[in-house]
Amino acid sequence: MASTVAIDGLNHWYGRGANRRQVLQSVGLTIEPGEVVLLTGPSGCGKTTLLTLIGALRKVQEGQVCVLGQPLNAAGRGARQRLRRRIGMIFQGHNLLRCLTAEQNVQMGADLLKDRSYLARRDLSRQWLREVGLGDHLNKLPHDLSGGQKQRVAIARALAAHPQLLLADEPTAALDSTTGREVVDLLKRLAREQACSVLMVTHDPRILDVADRLVRMEDGRLFCSVG
């Protein structure tokens, strides 16, 4: 089976002309199906940039990036947008839609599965909310949920679209240690059940043990891989 993510010789710059600054320097990384990889490193070292490149949110400037079998080097807007449907994303903030209930938020993810009927998608979103332990909070607005609950809704939303790759950018940053732990464990368990690869950026040393592999980044270079 092909790697979920295959990156080789990836360089990336921000800015133009004299202000041009290299943020990624010949990065190479592979993630196998079902693998949970943690990416750590100091702020501003390019972790998020790498994540957005893998998530097909940015255009690749130089190097080889292949995600879920789709080369991204020359992929246009449409191709990247289609690929994004197969990637789940969890953000630092929960990024839920403020005006929708928990259930509707998850359904926004489930709605990306075009081949299912409306009712099937609704059942799916309810099932996912139960899965993350929020079966009793279906009709609450994000405003009325605690931080951990919101992040769990975000996980349910990301997984509802049956992604093969889950990208998470500091999902525990806004949470206290116990909740953070719970959320990460949940994330890992569900990803395992789905055979979904996970790439998680984190600063949080308490959750490093969930990783199959640790990758460290400094000044735009990937340093060491701990097996």
């Binding site: 949110l57 947008q81 994004r84 449907r85 990637i87 953000f91 993810g109």
Partner: protein, 374 residues
């Protein structure tokens, strides 16, 4: 998304309604005024009319020889004719003795004249000299004539220094040119307006046989009669009058401009509301894009928002429009009313307005860069 922000929703709806009301008002006034200018014209019992080519409108009707109307009888399809004298007169208010211009029509009391028979039934009372029928829908500045008359008083006044007595009331309605109307016999008319030549009339009404084709007869009469008269169909006569007000005065332009202003104001308000709304929710739109939603799905959301605003904003505008029309009818006695075509026009305008603003607000959406949200 607006539902969670009642204040902004209210502002948006108020803006749309306001724009709608403005448009209703301006268009209503315009159409009402144009309609009003032909209230009398519509009531004439005629298929064709003769006027002088020098006449420009109801306030400036020139005379032409009465002979021309009699000549028109030569056409086999013509069934009857009625000569009409038509002029503005100075009516003295019997209460405070001020004078004011009133539209006077003089005709032979024996001849049928108006489509509505109830208007003609009193005409016998005009066979006495110095008698007039007063339009009870005339503006109050002419004095409480109708009121006094109904109370059974003898209402007398002066026109151009001649004493006249009100013999009855009719209902015609005011227009641009005339704040009031009165009907009288040809004989009295000529007494009141001594400078008018007896052989000259201002309007000739021609009634055709029921089977006749007005356009064909119009053509024949135009060929037959010398060019000191114009032959018009009744509709042509109405158009002639409306055209004058539309093109020779600035009234139509002013009201159309007013409606356009309403449109622009509405556009600005809706654009502002939608733009801020999209801006506020930009991270959420970006999130949806990051999840793999297409730009056009998001555009659809904004379009729907605009559509809902248009629909919901139209309802109060429509109701307020109705109320205003009622108020205006009451105050000015102009025939301003809600008709289907204007209701549709304004709705279309509001819809276009909302869609236009939504379209402009969407340009903000393009800025939603999914990479920025991490």
């Amino acid at each position: 998304m607006l539902i969670r922000q009642p204040v902004r929703l209210f502002v948006a709806l108020a803006g749309i309604s306001f724009a709608g009301i403005l448009m209703f008002m301006q268009l209503g006034f315009r159409d009402g005024l144009f309609d009003a200018s032909v209230t009398v014209h519509r009531r004439f019992d005629a298929d064709l009319v003769l006027i002088s080519p020098r006449s420009t409108s109801s306030v400036r009707m020139a005379g032409f020889p009465k002979r021309r109307l009699i000549q028109a009888m030569a056409d086999p399809q013509v069934e009857g004719i009625t000569p009409v004298h038509w002029s503005l007169m100075l009516w003295r208010n019997p209460e405070n003795l001020s004078t004011r211009s009133i539209l006077g029509l003089g005709f032979d009391p024996e001849d049928p004249f108006f489509v509505n028979p109830e208007l003609s039934q009193d005409s016998q009372k005009l066979s006495l000299k110095g008698r007039v029928l007063f339009d009870q829908l005339s503006r109050p500045e002419f004095g409480p004539v109708a009121e006094w008359f109904r109370q059974g008083r003898t209402v007398e006044s002066e026109i151009g220094g001649n004493r006249v007595r009100v013999a009855g009331l009719v209902s015609l309605g005011t227009s641009f040119g005339a704040d009031g109307n009165l009907l009288t016999s040809s004989e009295t008319f000529l007494d009141l307006m001594p400078n008018k030549a007896p052989g000259s009339i201002e309007l000739g009404l021609i009634r055709l046989k029921p089977t006749a084709d007005p356009l064909a007869v119009q053509e024949r009469l135009t060929a037959l009669l010398p060019n000191d008269v114009r032959v018009l169909t009744k509709q042509g006569f109405i158009d002639f009058e409306q055209n004058y007000w539309r093109s020779s005065t600035s009234i139509g332009f002013i009201f159309t401009l007013g409606a356009a202003m309403g449109f622009v104001v509405g556009c600005v308000i809706v654009y502002q509301v939608l733009y801020t709304d999209v801006s506020d929710h930009l991270p959420e739109y970006a999130t949806l894009m990051a999840m793999g939603y297409q730009l056009k799905t998001l555009v659809g959301v904004v379009v729907r928002e605009g559509l809902i605003l248009a629909l919901v904003g139209y309802i109060p505008a429509y109701l307020a429009g109705q109320a205003l029309y009622w108020f205006v009818r009451d105050a000015t006695r102009l025939p301003v009313g809600m008709d289907l075509s204007r209701a549709t026009t304004v709705f279309t305008m509001i819809l276009v307005m909302c869609m236009l603003s939504a379209g402009l607000a969407m340009r903000r959406l393009v800025d939603a860069d999914p990479a920025e949200i991490f």
